[in-house]
């Protein structure tokens, strides 16, 4: 009789321990090579076939990341291609600098830490003072959280589709297509407005997100450029 209770007690303890391990310590049986702190925020599937974006935060709550993701995925054509994206979060301490009055987090340390998650694009969201700009360099976006959330789609336009700023003054990067020397370059797309990075270049829409953070759209011509880039994934 005592043995029966011993068996039963032992089994219940095993179950309790098993459930605890399952729920509260996912790293115990973890056998992958990525950092255990790599967390899926929005996951569509195999990283080889998706656009993978990894977020870090500095002085900003992790829950804020969802707002940035929602903002980007609210813009056409990303809104119709959500299942082409994965978003991850890495809980790591990141050091950033200020360069040209902008937050600049691009560093060897950031690049190495990012390798703990799929990382086609890297985003650091940081709580900085007013007046500190956001930046984009290589595949790294450094965001001052004080700016409107829509700064993320703007910066993503730079590093994903090589879109130039449509406000002036700025410089047009090599290969950028959204600023044209003449309106014919926009083809059949209606709309041609002077000033696009440079005062004698033209843009295809009056107020796209590449010109003002108050905008809710990349507009048609830029959407086409982005869609062409998305085709590569």
């Amino acid at each position: 009789m005592e043995y029966k209770y011993l068996f039963l007690g032992g089994a219940i303890i095993l179950i309790v321990v098993g459930v605890f391990v399952f729920l509260y310590d996912p790293s115990i049986f973890y056998s992958g090579k990525e950092s255990p702190s790599c967390e899926k925020i929005f996951y569509s599937g195999n990283s080889d076939e998706k656009v993978d974006v990894v977020f870090f935060t500095r002085g900003v709550g992790k829950n804020k990341i969802q707002k940035y993701i929602d903002s980007l995925l609210g813009f056409e054509p990303f809104d119709k291609q959500k299942d082409n994206f994965n978003f991850f979060y890495l809980d790591e301490k990141i050091d950033c600098n200020i360069k040209y009055s902008a937050l600049f987090c691009y560093s060897l340390d950031l690049i190495q830490k990012s390798s703990g998650c799929p990382n086609d694009f890297i985003v650091v969201v940081s709580d900085e003072s007013d007046g500190i700009r956001s930046s984009a360099y290589m595949n790294v976006i450094s965001i001052n959280d004080k700016l409107p959330i829509s700064v993320f789609p703007h910066e993503f336009g730079h590093i994903f589709a090589n879109l130039a700023d449509e406000y002036i003054p700025a410089k047009i990067p090599f290969g950028s297509k959204n600023c044209a020397k003449n309106c014919k370059e926009f083809g059949e797309i209606v709309g041609c407005f002077q000033e696009c990075s440079e005062s004698d270049f033209f843009r295809s829409s009056e107020n796209s997100i590449m010109r003002t953070l108050n905008s809710q759209s990349y507009f048609e011509f830029n959407q086409k450029i982005i869609s062409e880039e998305l085709e590569k994934w």
Binding site: F29, C117, V151, N162, F174
Partner: protein
Amino acid sequence: MVKKIFLDLLLILSLIFILKFSLGEEQQLCDGNYFLLELRFSSGSFELINKSIQEGCAPDAKGNFEYKYSLVNNQTIISSGKFNSEVLFLDDFVDGEMSGGTELIKEQKIFLTIPYASEADNLEIFKQDEKVFEIKIYDAGATSCKIK
């Protein structure tokens, strides 16, 4: 009776662990290696600081940018990607107006992370179509006994 309960509980426990292991497999997102190249970018030219092989994920670089890298084996391109180390975008938004623009970067340490390929011999960097940099890559990390 107690024995049956014990066996049932053991079965449930086994199922929990099987489920856990299968989720663990699903979490293997970065099970590869990559080349990490530390380069000094200076006015359109590149100088090697360090090359190594690291564990983890490397990005795909599919954008349309000015510079292109290629991993090469016997003049055959194994993989390639594009980047722009020359332009830093800066953006501020005050009173409904954007400002900041771009800065052309004259000098900057840059880091190329490229999925590892054991058959890769060289890494080449092109500015538009002109080759501006080339290094041997097969000895990166000095972990290989590959003799060239």
